[in-house]
Subunit: 139 residues, 2 copies
């Protein structure tokens, strides 16, 4: 049962603290009355998705003894034009760099994350259509 406490600091700046005890600062951009000092709440969703699925994928690739030297994930989202600007689409791209990386291992790790393990993807996937791609760069 994850809990978070979010406290107004000033203007539109808030600090959130969740169960692990780590704090996140959030702010609105100047166009929405904030000072742009920190992430917008809505952009935390693609970041959380990339982090969640990235942890699944890297841990599966490590179990499969893949020699990953660099791992990046790009998440792009689309939000509805009308209020409340719900996320309607998200694309997640995994870029795995390493030595003798098995494309099949990457494909399977991504599938396992998106179909079985990633809580953030499963939650956001109820609102947004999620698509994915991956790229393997052999060093």
């Amino acid at each position: 049962m994850p809990n978070a406490k979010i406290t107004l600091v000033e203007d539109m700046q808030f600090i959130g603290v969740a169960d692990t005890g780590h704090a996140i600062v959030m702010d609105a951009p100047p166009s929405s009355g904030g000072k742009g000092t920190a992430s917008k709440p809505s952009e935390l969703l693609p970041m959380a998705f990339g982090g969640c699925s990235g942890m699944d994928v890297i841990s599966i690739l490590r179990k499969k003894k893949q020699n990953v030297t660099k791992f990046e994930i790009n998440v792009s989202g689309e939000m509805a034009k009308d209020y409340p600007h719900m996320y309607t689409d998200m694309h997640i791209e995994y870029i795995v760099t390493g030595k003798d990386i098995s494309e099949e291992a990457v494909k399977r790790a991504v599938e396992l994350s998106l179909e079985k393990y990633c809580s953030v993807g499963a939650t956001l996937g109820k609102a947004a259509k999620i698509t994915h791609s991956y790229k393997v760069i052999q060093e």
Copy 2:
């Protein structure tokens, strides 16, 4: 179209950077192979929800000339026991402290945020059943 780039640092630690250019560190707890140095991706969802809706509510209350001296939001989530542990329920509680605060103004601001404006709430509400409450503390 919000975009985020998430890069593996080491172990299970990732850094996410989204359009505003601000970075968020994410990590898994030791029980999941990480070092617990930062927020878990899944707990960013209740934090983002509280920040998003909190920004709506405080800006509406300011427009209504409410003298808010403190504003806190608590979000508690429930996730399914089985993989992928999707969020199934979220409760958001708003605690507004101030002088001569109109309960009606708080009620209406919360309704407007949850029914009309908050993109994170609308997105998460497709997966989780969202309930809310509010408390007004007169100083």
